[in-house]
Subunit: 127 residues, 3 copies
C-alpha cells in the first residue's frame, strides 16, 4: 500500500494522475492495480487524456446533472460534491502485466475534485 | 468468501453496513476488501456517515435523476431501481492493511436499497 | 490476463457477454474476477439479463441523462459516449468460488457500447 498526495487548487478540478501512478507501479509487480481515495467529496475516473476538452465535458455534464445550488438537506453547502463522488466512485482498478499498466491508448487516470481546493490522499494497492 | 444478510424495510433506503463489514474483516488478513451484491435493484456506495443528511441528499438526487414514474419498457414497475443500481454499482473495494480497513475519517459503507423491502445478500471477499 | 473481443454493430448497444466470460473462468481458479475495458467511450455493467427490456431501459435512461446533441467542447461529436463511460465505469468485479462465478440469479454482464460500431477489447483478470 502506497499513499500519494494530490493538491487541488479549485472547487471542481480534474487532475491527470496517470504519470504519478505509473511511477509507483514501475517498481512493483502484480496482476491488478487498485487506486482508492479515502474522501467523500471527490472521485476517481478513467477516461481520455489526449484532448483535455473531454474531461472538461465530463466535469460540466456532472455539474448539470447535480446542480450545486439545489436546496439540499445537508447544511455544509457541498452535497453536490458528495453526490458526484457517488456517481464517479471512490476507486478504479486496472489490470497489470508484471510492471506494465494495461491502460488503453487514450486512457488516463483522473482525480476528480468536487469540493476543493484541498490536499487529498490517494491509496495505491498492487495485488 | 463470507455472505452477509441485509434486511431492508422501505422501497428506497440507505443502510450503513460499515460495522457489519468491520466485524468480518477483523478476523481476516489481506490487502483488499471486496464487497459485492448479487442483486439487480440495489447498489453499494462509500460516502459520509457522520451526517445522515448526506446519504439522504444522495438518495434524493438519484430519485430526481431517475424518476420512478417514467413510462419504462420493463413491465415490473422497478426500472428506476435497475437504473440506480447501474449508477451506484454492484461492488465497492477498499484497501486493507493487515486487519485494518483503510476507510477515510468520514467514510462509511452503505447498502442502497432501490426496490425494497427485501432480504438482501452481500458477499465479502478478502484478497 | 485474458483478452476477449467484442464486436458492436450500432452506435449504442448493450451486449450480454456473460457466457463469453463464463467460458474463460471455467478453466481458471481464483477468488475474484476482474473485467476491464481499455477504451474511453464504452462501459461495463452488471444487471438483469432475464428481460431484455431492463437493459434497454438502462440504455435509454443514460441517453436522457446525457443528451447526444448538447453543445459539448470536444469536437469529435462523441462527448456523450465519454460521459456515459464515466457513469457506468471501465471495470466490474465479481467474487469467485474456485471456478464458479458468484453472479446472482438475475445478473448478467453487459458490454455497453456508446460510440459504435467498433471492434472492442475486454481484459479478464482472475485473482
Amino acid at each position: 500500500m502506497i499513499e500519494l498526495s494530490v493538491k487541488t487548487t479549485k472547487r471542481t478540478q480534474a487532475i491527470n494522475i496517470t504519470s504519478q501512478i505509473a511511477r509507483v507501479v514501475k517498481d512493483e509487480k502484480g496482476s491488478l492495480l487498485h487506486i482508492y481515495t479515502p474522501h467523500t467529496t471527490c472521485g476517481l475516473v478513467i477516461n481520455e487524456e489526449a484532448d483535455p476538452n473531454v474531461i472538461r465535458d465530463i466535469m460540466e455534464a456532472l455539474d448539470r446533472m447535480v446542480p450545486a445550488d439545489y436546496p439540499y438537506t445537508h447544511m455544509e453547502g457541498n452535497s453536490d460534491a458528495h453526490i458526484k463522488a457517488v456517481l464517479t466512485g471512490s476507486s478504479v482498478s486496472i489490470p497489470l502485466s508484471g510492471r506494465d499498466l494495461n491502460l488503453g491508448t487514450w486512457q488516463g487516470i483522473f482525480f476528480m475534485e468536487f469540493d476543493g481546493p484541498r490536499e487529498r490522499k490517494v491509496i495505491v494497492t498492487i495485488i
